[in-house]
């Protein structure tokens, strides 16, 4: 299995800043399972561009504010 790309994310912080939103709440709002949100948050799974936009829209911010490419 290929190593995941070096993409960091701020989902955990953003959830905390948005009323301690749970992974299940976020998952429901973007149409995914809680396990998938957990995998994205842990950096084990890189979401599609569409999912990245959905996540950033839930937090009312840009994709770049949620996901960063780390060299």
């Amino acid at each position: 299995m290929p190593a995941p790309p070096p993409i960091a994310n701020q989902i955990r912080r953003l959830r905390f800043e948005h009323g301690e939103m749970t992974q299940a709440d976020l998952a429901q709002r973007i149409g995914m399972t809680r396990q998938t949100v957990a995998a994205i948050e842990a950096g084990k799974y890189s979401p599609s561009l569409e999912a990245a936009f959905r996540i950033s829209r839930v937090f009312g911010t840009t994709v770049e504010a949620v996901f960063q490419w780390e060299e």
Partner: protein
């Protein structure tokens, strides 16, 4: 554990149990490998597999009805595609290995059982691959 992962476990266990009984009975000498009893046992195991899968999936769906009704998300589709690719390669290798018993002159009923074993091993490979990927995250 997500509903899809539970589903992979259900498939793994039910295939292992049902076809474990089938091949165990043949290897253990409980049925004649080339007799009509083998066909009856196969039908019995196939029906048991279907019933076991339906029953266990119904229980899993009852435990988490929301997730059971929800369509697969992108990660679950990816895991399904990857696991079926694994199963495809396992099946190809097993089918090529089927040439060995054919070469050594095994009769057709034996070859059919070897072919069935190939399908069962490929199905197990798909389930194991899914479980590993679900456990790893993707």
């Amino acid at each position: 554990m997500s509903f899809r992962e539970k589903s992979a476990w259900i498939t793994l266990v039910s295939v292992l149990v049902c076809f474990g009984v089938y091949f165990g009975s043949i290897l253990g000498g409980a049925v004649r490998p080339r007799g009509i009893e083998t066909v009856h046992l196969f039908l019995l195991c196939a029906i048991a597999l279907v019933l076991l899968q339906i029953g266990l999936h119904a229980v899993a769906a009852r435990l988490d009805p929301h997730e059971a009704r929800a369509p697969r998300d992108e990660r679950e589709w990816l895991i399904q595609h990857r696991s079926h690719t694994v199963g495809y390669y396992v099946l190809m290798v097993m089918v090529l290995l089927l040439g060995a018993p054919a070469h050594f002159g095994h009769p057709v009923p034996d070859l059919l059982n070897f072919a069935l074993l190939d399908v069962v091993i490929a199905a197990l490979a798909v389930s194991v691959a899914q479980i590993v990927m679900f456990r790893r995250g993707a």
